[in-house]
């Protein structure tokens, strides 16, 4: 019996991210969840702009791209056209919480039966480390090298809480991939998100705290510790809303 191998729903491609990037873990967990639920042939994924776009290479499922931030709107179009299929959008924090905030919130408000995964690494990774809406107070970024000053650019956005607040009967959770225990919880949340959609209960959203050693100018191992010490206190893990009957 195999215990731990590459998910069947994933291709043999190399993971196209920097050393220690959490995207690889998150993408694999989604693949595992697709395998576990047996929905590989029914699932369509959306990979919008940023580091997240590269995820299309990694899944052995139908995939498409989306303009920056429009993942939830593209997912809405797909889902309305194919209500029996499982539609997910895999996005970064700039994509979800800045340029695509309107599309995300409105998909949640409409209770679209889609799933959005948002990787929160508190920085713009693909463009080279500029401030994100999720950047912590005082955190270094190339656009605000002195650290994020809330007097200038406001406070970090709490997406899991926000979605739970606006979306009726949604599943909204925040997880992290900084240690084995959290990775296991993350997987459970991803499965629950898909189940919410499979059972046509409501919108589902999983915010995944994830390391970006390159953007943070840290070693990969330092970045795991930074999530534990700095990010989780600001972004508490847990389920913020769970649909009835899940």
């Amino acid at each position: 019996m195999k215990r731990f191998t590459r998910p069947r729903s994933m291709t043999d491609e190399m993971v196209p991210y920097c050393p220690g990037c959490g995207h690889g873990i998150a993408i694999r967990l989604i693949g595992e969840a697709i395998d576990e639920l047996g929905i590989q042939g029914e699932t369509i994924g959306i990979a919008p702009v940023g580091c997240a776009v590269r995820s299309w290479r990694l899944y052995r499922i139908d995939m498409m791209q989306a303009p920056h931030g429009r993942g939830p709107a593209v997912a809405t179009g797909l889902k309305r056209a194919l209500p029996e299929k499982i539609i997910f959008s895999y996005q970064g924090d700039g994509d979800s919480a800045a340029i695509g905030l309107a599309e995300l919130i409105h998909a949640a408000l409409r209770c679209e039966k889609i799933t959005v995964f948002m990787v929160n690494n508190a920085i713009y990774g693909a463009t080279g480390g500029q401030m994100a809406p999720t950047t912590l107070i005082g955190q270094y970024s190339t656009s605000y090298p002195e650290g994020r000053d809330p007097g200038l650019v406001g406070y970090p956005v709490k997406m899991a809480e926000l979605i739970a607040n606006v979306s009726r009967n949604s599943y909204s959770a925040r997880v992290a991939v900084n240690n084995a225990k959290n990775v296991l919880s993350a997987k459970k949340a991803i499965v629950k998100a898909f189940r919410t959609q499979l059972n046509k209960l409501g919108f589902s959203f999983v915010e995944i705290l994830s390391p970006c050693p390159t953007g943070w100018k840290m070693t990969p191992v330092e970045s795991l510790n930074w999530i534990e010490k700095e990010m989780i206190p600001e972004y508490p893990l847990g389920e913020y809303s769970t649909p009835k009957n899940l």
Binding site: R3, F4, M10, G20, G24, I25, A180, P220
Partner: protein, 78 residues
């Protein structure tokens, strides 16, 4: 039970996929993962199991690997 394998498992590392981030060795409760002095073809010092006898097959390394470079197989159940 301490120090004994949970199950008889075979842990294998794919040196070509490894980017040497070190997450596997960081989370390994038995500290049995090391890094090769050699480079793989993309220039990373890849991870390997330097003391297979002490591995308890917990799977933490594979859970944390961002590059899906670690494979764990149960050789015989119980």
């Amino acid at each position: 039970m301490k120090g004994k394998p949970l199950k008889a498992v075979k842990v294998s590392f794919d040196p070509e996929r490894c980017k040497g981030c070190g997450y596997c060795s960081f989370v390994c409760p038995k500290h049995v993962i090391g890094f090769s002095e050699n480079f793989n073809s993309r220039g990373f010092h890849y991870a390997f199991l330097n003391d297979p006898e002490k591995c308890i097959g917990c799977g933490f390394c594979a859970l944390m690997c961002p590059d899906i470079a670690i494979r764990i197989e149960v050789i015989n159940k119980d």
